[in-house]
């Protein structure tokens, strides 16, 4: 075992033990379901069949969406021509239509990019503005939404509360729509890391630096405990490997991952990336109380996880994540 792997295992293990201690003392509430459902769906491109794939995929979960206000939270960072940085706008548009088709009362799309202050510029340059306009779907800039002071149920960051957008809190069904990517500070960025984007820049700045100082892993845990996503649709059709989240290389995975549990979704996506979710610190801790990481508690509705995967390229400091 290399020093790096040992250190990562030690950090993740210590964190997981601390979480178990907190659970045993009643400080943390165990929110894991008996079983979580994940569907890995083959989809080679962002072409015409995407709308049907989304509806068919959602039907596998038999969700009760009737009368619900749905919020789709894609991952928009900034537009870099030729780079697969953002959740593909076609996938976001197709998801919006699919939720309406399946009975949702309303569908909104919301995002608060972390570095680019001009959210509407990101929207225009990525093509999402056009996609949503054509489908008559409204967008909310979560960086400048009305905010509500929300007491935290967990204290991984030491913060007592977070300011969060009213639109997110008013939504009855929050869908995290990450791009499947490596991340130069968190290892991987998937549905849980994607929720950094609900934290409003107007309160925390661009980037959301107070959370960085409290620890990215710890912030991911607190945010996801405060605003759990009800569902995940991960864009793994073309992911990003290497120096993500901005300057990595495109990686064709040809998969959409849907799940009714963000932790189970992120475990499955990490395995699809050929990486070990048990070595991603925040995932190990999240699997102790927020959602399911154990294979025996994850039911696969679509394809099974492949037996072998060529691992995503990672920066040297994350080499220990490889399976």
């Amino acid at each position: 075992m290399s020093r790096r792997v040992f250190e990562a295992a030690a950090v993740a293990g210590t964190g997981a033990l601390a979480v178990r201690q907190m659970l045993s003392t009643g400080y943390l509430q165990d929110r894991r379901k008996a079983n979580s459902r994940v569907a890995i769906i083959h989809q080679a491109s962002y072409g015409d069949r995407l709308d049907k794939t989304l509806v068919d995929g959602l039907r596998l979960f038999n969700l009760d969406l009737r009368g619900k206000a749905v919020l789709l939270k894609p991952n928009l960072v900034e537009s870099i021509p030729g780079s697969e940085v953002n959740t593909n706008p076609r996938l976001v548009g197709a998801a919006a239509t699919a939720f309406l088709t399946l009975g949702a009362k309303t569908v909104l799309v919301g995002e608060g990019p972390g570095h680019q202050r001009d959210t509407m510029l990101v929207l225009a340059e990525t093509g999402l503005e056009t996609e949503l306009r054509e489908r008559l779907i409204r967008f909310v800039d979560l960086n400048r939404d009305e905010v509500v002071k929300v007491p935290l149920k967990t204290r991984f960051t030491g913060l007592e509360f977070l300011w969060l957008p009213r639109t997110v809190l008013a939504s009855e069904f929050v869908v995290s729509m990450p791009k499947v990517k490596t991340h130069h500070w968190a290892g991987v960025t998937l549905s849980m890391k994607n929720l950094f984007g609900v934290v409003p820049g107007v309160a925390y700045g661009w980037p959301k630096n107070p959370l960085h100082w409290r620890g990215i892993d710890r912030s991911i845990l607190d945010i996801n405990a405060a605003v759990p996503a009800h569902f995940v649709i991960a864009d793994g059709i073309i992911g990003m490997e290497g120096n993500g989240p901005l300057h990595g290389s495109p990686r064709n995975l040809g998969r959409i991952v849907m799940a009714d549990d963000p932790v189970a979704a992120d475990f499955s996506c990490t395995l699809l990336m050929g990486l070990n979710p048990r070595r991603v610190n925040y995932l190990t801790q999240a699997a102790e109380f927020l959602g399911n990481g154990a294979p025996e508690r994850i039911v696969h509705l679509g394809e099974s996880l492949p037996r072998t995967v060529a691992p995503f390229a990672v920066l040297p400091e994350f080499a220990h994540l490889r399976l």
Partner: protein, 319 residues
């Protein structure tokens, strides 16, 4: 020539619509403006006041909603008054009060609080960490400006706005002293240090893991406004060139900041004025229906950018 007059008229009408929309969006009881919805926001209030002041719709008495939200420490929250100090919002508020001609006593404490506000890397231990242990982002922690909120590190936008507010206050004789000079020097050095290698600025991470990141239009404009006295430096000239290549930007927010920044460089002789005219044409075309614009700050900024009064740029640090 006829086209030019027509475009000027289109811009004038667009600006009128924006000012009307600002008046319409004023919160009940005259309690300032909100980004969206009904919560007081320091930034939309400051930008709305500057825009309405430029249109002679509010006078210095109109600044009262901003003054009323000032915290006991002299600083402003970004939203409401419970959120804690926000340096960007505070610098913008100070500059607004000063531009509107409000009584100096109403913001004298705020200027002092801005001068005292230091980012984390001002502490020697944190500076050492960034110099020797954490080198993933390339920057010199001995050159620091201002953070977005206390207990975090310097970023480009709040640093630029703090420099603009303090430089303008200094020029009006509202503040002086060696500590002011030291913070102005350090802040300026920080902006120069954080510039992207080819010119322009983003949030403040120019090179990460050895990879240069792309500049953003709005932060480049803000930094250029703050660095106007240093136009002779190659990085400032390159950044202006980069900015002017973005006149086709599809967003009103970035375009408005670009126009306001380019406006203070009109005399440098590299075709700045034609670029401003093109950007104003484009901005006016994006603003046919101000009600469709979600963020009130964008409306205030756009109204300022379409204003035609010379020497009335509230972010100009020279002149």
């Amino acid at each position: 020539m006829m086209r030019s007059f027509a475009n000027i008229e289109i811009q004038r009408l667009a600006r009128c619509r924006l000012l009307e929309e600002l008046v319409r969006r004023r919160l009940p009881s005259g309690d300032g403006w909100s980004h969206r919805g009904t919560q007081f926001g320091a930034e939309p209030t400051a930008l709305a006041l500057l825009a309405l002041h430029s249109g002679a719709i509010v006078t210095q008495e109109g600044a009262s909603p901003l003054i009323a939200r000032q915290g006991a420490d002299g600083l402003w929250s970004a939203v409401g008054d419970e959120m804690g100090a926000n340096i960007w919002a505070s610098a913008l508020a100070v500059n607004t009060l000063s531009s509107l001609g409000a009584e100096r006593a109403t913001y004298a404490d705020s200027i002092e609080a801005l001068i005292r506000s230091c980012p984390r890397e001002a502490a020697w231990l944190v500076s050492l960490k960034f110099r020797f242990l954490d080198r993933r982002v390339r920057f010199d922690p001995t050159k620091y400006g201002w953070p977005w909120v206390p207990e975090t590190v310097s970023w480009v936008a709040p640093t630029a706005m703090a420099l603009i507010a303090l430089e303008r206050a200094k020029k009006r004789g509202l503040v002086r002293g060696s500590e002011l000079q030291r913070r102005l020097r350090l802040g300026t050095e920080m902006l120069l240090d954080r510039a992207c290698p080819g010119g322009g600025w983003n949030a403040g991470n120019a090179v990460v893991y050895g990879v240069p990141l792309r500049p953003h239009v709005d932060t480049t404009a803000l930094a250029l406004l703050a660095l106007r006295p240093l136009y002779d430096l190659p990085i400032v000239r390159n950044s202006l060139r980069w900015l002017l290549r973005n006149v086709e930007c599809p967003s009103a927010f970035s375009l408005a900041w670009m126009i306001l920044a380019a406006d203070v460089y009109k005399d440098v002789g590299i075709n700045v004025s034609p670029a401003i005219n093109s950007a104003r044409d484009r901005l006016a075309s994006l603003l046919e229906d101000p009600r469709s614009i979600g963020d009130t700050s964008t409306i205030g900024l756009a109204a300022l950018a379409l204003g035609s009064e010379p020497k009335n740029n509230p972010f100009e640090v020279e002149g």
